[in-house]
């Protein structure tokens, strides 16, 4: 075991951060905006961003859920396979400005897979990326458009985003050792 993880964000800070990100997302063109969360925790963050965006404008923002498991390039390497779940995007993505939401941006491989998955569904006019934590250490050339917090990290550290819907609490932690795989590819 390792030392207690350092708390990077508590519930209050997480909420303020998401509010700021929603405002930034809103500043760009918004007529065709839709928010898409990557399973599992990206979905909850995306839902909160959607709620905040709807409050800013007082109008409906389309929302979708993406499961990228069928698009991974590491079917082999992950020890702990998640259960495959449905992609639920009920609106046509063509012609939309999609904001893709995930909890942690690390190697960039999840996002690469997500881009493949989205383009199989149609041709969005733009895809932008919003992440709560950018921890660096990219393995593919992918950069976020909206960042909650940037934290330089080492590969042997781990960043965990806890959300109340899944974990009972809103918090971001930085720990000293990789826990049983939660980091995305």
């Amino acid at each position: 075991m390792t030392a207690t993880p350092r708390v990077l964000m508590d519930a209050g800070k997480m909420d303020r951060t998401l509010a700021r990100m929603a405002a930034e997302i809103r500043e760009r063109e918004s007529d065709t905006l839709a928010v898409v969360g990557i399973r599992t925790r990206g979905v909850h963050l995306a839902a909160r961003l959607r709620d905040k965006l709807q409050r800013i404008d007082d109008r409906q923002v389309d929302f979708g859920i993406l499961d990228i498991n069928l698009y991974r390039d590491d079917l082999s390497m992950v020890a702990d396979h998640p259960v495959l779940r449905k992609t639920e995007i009920s609106f046509p993505v063509s012609g939309r400005r999609l904001v893709l939401v995930d909890d942690v941006l690390y190697t960039g491989r999840t996002i690469r897979a997500a881009l493949d998955a989205l383009t199989d569904l149609g041709r969005p006019t733009a895809i932008q990326l919003a992440v709560l934590v950018d921890r660096g250490l990219r393995e593919v050339p992918i950069q976020p458009d909206f960042i909650g917090m940037a934290v330089p990290t080492q590969a042997d550290q781990h960043v965990r985003v806890l959300v109340r819907e899944e974990d009972g609490v809103d918090r971001v932690e930085l720990g000293e050792r990789v826990l049983p795989k939660r980091e995305k590819p």
């Binding site: 499961d67 069928l70 082999s76 259960v83 495959l84 779940r85 992609t87 199989d120």
Partner: protein, 313 residues
Amino acid sequence: MADLSDRHLLGIEGLASEEITLILDTAESMVEIGQREIKKVPTLRGKTVVNFFYEPSTRTRSSFEIAEKRLSADIVNFSASGSSVSKGETLLDTARTLEAMEPNFIVIRHGASGAARFLADRCRASIINAGDGMHEHPTQALLDAFTMRRHKKKLAGLNVAIVGDITHSRVARSNAYLLTTMGARVTFCGPATMIPPHVECLGARVESRMEKALEGVDVIMMLRIQRERQSRLALPSLREYTRLYGLDRRRLNLAHPEALIMHPGPINRGVEIADDVADDPRSVILEQVANGVAIRMAVLYLLARNWDAHEAA
């Protein structure tokens, strides 16, 4: 549980209920891909599947083929007629030949019970049993269960009657294993000559009178009478079979009013199932076919994850 315990799918016997649930849940996600404009995901890109069909089969083979294509696998089809098999090659030599091509999966349909196990013991590839003799046809039972679950919400507690030639039916066997594992009650029904000895070890009840077997059941599964093998059939005549064990409107009315009518196909209208019953709104025979693709995608995907894990280890 998020993984299957084996790298092959040889039968339902031995699968835990969690594994069956995992396959059915994964298939739910695969249905969504079939509804997209581009019905293809890159999951099995660069993987090779050999479809190795010793017995004639149209629906199972094409269903596997569509599933493989939707997952972007490379496919080689190999059938008994017009191949080395008809030139007298043994199964073992054919297996070695296939193995030399380094496929990731071999989907095998064979007339001999145990053929899939035979390959699994000798090949590095993941073996999927697409029907072996009188033994098992696991993907058929899985797609049947998937169809039942989609209509009835859960399998536990369902009363299922399976009617026909139980002795020669791998579909009946796989279904009995699966349904009893999931907590459903299975009743086999057919002439005494078509019920195998020691059938109770499959966990099913036996009823020789069809009227009794159908009483209040939630699902009626009719098996095909294999007319092409009539010489081997333990039947005095087809007409007598239809009179005693054919599913007609009158018998259908004995089942639960919302009972599902199922059949693995191809159906013999007027033999085991009456014309109007086959077309009844409660008949889900075509849905079974559609669901077969999602189930086979799920099995390929889950085995591929295992296959890769074994490679990495």
